[in-house]
């Protein structure tokens, strides 16, 4: 009769590492998309059009006021259904199957976007007005102004917030395991259940996540030093 045998850390190392890779992939993609959403959202919040401001405010306020786990569960189904409905409307029903991976990334990116909006908005507002006025005085185009003045000026202010959000995102990827998506923590749970070595595997999970967050912190510290070069330091 087929039965489950006790397997150890070494046997599960392969699937666990592959799960860790999936986690990193999801996090990187969700962060990148969330970043774009955040820039758009901050731009919308600072725009002169009231409806656009209202929409962006509603987006960032609602998403930030509801627990992430709830959002992830809701958006996982709502997102999939909405996308299917959209494809059906466009007459492409069933043509493209959105994978669980894409939905997980989409959900996390959507949530990240709301938090990023606030970070970017605060960072843009903190740019000394004189620099932006000088850009206008020199007659730079809107794109050049954004690209050469706003972005570099905003980055040092935004980085602490951005690094914090990255750490939160890595930890939030574990929440996707609750909807059954196969990332690192889900694999750990399967390993723990299959081998009955619960303490061992959950400790291993902690260690892996800790490695991810510690190395991220170090990376962001270097990035921040690089971005702040040329800025006046305190004497």
């Amino acid at each position: 009769m087929a039965s489950m045998t006790s397997e150890g850390l070494v046997d599960w190392a392969g699937p666990i590492l592959s799960g860790a890779l999936t986690t990193v992939q999801i996090a990187v993609l969700a962060y990148a998309i969330g970043l774009l959403l955040g820039l758009l959202g901050a731009g919308a919040k600072l725009s002169p059009w009231a409806p656009l401001r209202g929409l962006a405010t509603a987006y960032s306020t609602l998403i930030r006021a509801v627990p992430e786990l709830l959002l992830i569960i809701l958006l996982y189904y709502a997102g999939a259904q909405a996308l299917d409905a959209l494809l059906a409307r466009l007459g492409m029903a069933g043509a493209v199957q959105i994978t669980g991976f894409a939905t997980a990334v989409g959900v996390l990116a959507f949530v990240q976007g709301a938090y990023m909006t606030e970070v970017f908005r605060g960072a843009i507002l903190a740019i000394p007005r004189g620099q932006l006025e000088a850009a206008d005085a020199f007659g730079f185009s809107r794109w050049t102004r954004f690209h050469r003045f706003v972005l570099p000026g905003m980055l040092p202010n935004a980085l602490p917030g951005m690094s914090n959000l990255w750490l939160i995102l890595i930890k939030d990827t574990a929440l996707i395991s609750v909807i059954g998506f196969n990332e690192l923590f889900f694999t750990i749970q399967q390993a723990a259940a299959s081998s009955r070595a619960y303490f061992l595997f959950y400790s291993a999970a902690g260690v892996i996540y800790l490695l991810m967050t510690l190395s991220s912190t170090a990376l962001f510290a270097r990035l921040e030093r690089h971005v702040r070069r040329g800025q006046p330091t305190e004497v």
Binding site: M4, V28, L29
Partner: protein, 257 residues
């Protein structure tokens, strides 16, 4: 400008690789959380178990290609209706409530729910449950039965996401009794660590339990339903179901008509 472009390209490449997929092979939805001995994952990464092997046999009989698609158990019906999977084959009971939202094939196996507790505990169902702590897996017919029928018995019901978590807490003594599928429990009691436990009673037939275990389908998939019913009949008649059942469950639970 080159560096940001490279980043953008890498990120896009990472993403596109995962998004689009052709819709051809049938996706057999099973619970991502292991449910031995019906579905579980060996360290090799392959899914196996009574229902997984039976699914392969049924697909072979239908001459269709099938792919095992693990999904979160508590969202498996919405996933089916949303088209992420084409069928559910994870010990899902055919109940009237479920039939309002999905269709089922004919039943392929049937087992009742069983109460499991420590061998040296005297347990009288349902009067003896007063003051005890009972664990059950959420989103199962056992959970519905427990909530409805055992409310007045004074038992404290705890809901878990995964079957293995329920077993774990019984073994560690947090739970006094658990209510779960009889076959799964028979398997569970064979483990060394479960030596001090036994099945106390089985739950009576109740509307929460339905007519048996069937494959869940979308209500509009009539053609698939007909094909599956034929394939199930074939697999049962040929004895494939019986031999898989003996192999994984130790007894024949297939539904013969």
């Amino acid at each position: 400008m080159k560096f940001p472009m490279m980043i953008a390209a890498t990120v896009t490449a990472l993403g596109l690789g995962h998004i689009a997929q052709a819709a051809e092979p049938l996706k057999v939805g099973i619970s991502g959380e292991p449910y031995p001995p019906f579905t579980y994952k060996a360290a090799s990464g392959d899914w196996t178990g009574f229902e997984v092997e039976l699914a392969h046999a049924i697909c072979a009989a239908m001459e269709r290609e099938c792919e095992i698609a693990p999904t979160g158990w508590s969202g498996i019906i919405p996933s089916l209706n949303a088209g992420r999977i084409d069928m559910i084959m994870n010990s899902m009971s055919i109940t009237e409530k479920r039939q309002r939202v999905i269709d089922f094939t004919r039943p392929y196996y049937f087992t009742p729910g069983a109460y499991v507790a420590a061998s040296d505990r005297e347990l009288d169902i349902p009067d003896g449950l007063d003051g005890l702590v009972m664990g059950v897996q959420g989103a199962t017919t056992n959970a519905t039965y427990a909530r409805r029928e055992l409310r007045d018995s004074g038992v404290e019901i705890r809901l878990y996401d995964q079957a293995e978590q329920v077993n774990n807490d019984l073994l560690s003594g947090r739970l006094d009794v658990i209510l779960a599928d009889e076959i799964a429990m028979a398997q569970f009691l064979e483990r060394d660590e479960a030596g001090a436990f036994e099945i106390k009673a089985t739950a009576p037939r109740h509307e929460a339990y339905g007519e048996g275990i069937g494959i869940g389908l979308r209500q509009e998939d009539d053609a698939l339903e007909a094909a599956l019913n034929e394939a199930i009949a074939t697999v049962i008649e040929e004895g494939t179901c019986a031999s898989l059942s003996e192999q994984y469950l130790g007894t024949d639970v297939c539904v013969y008509d």
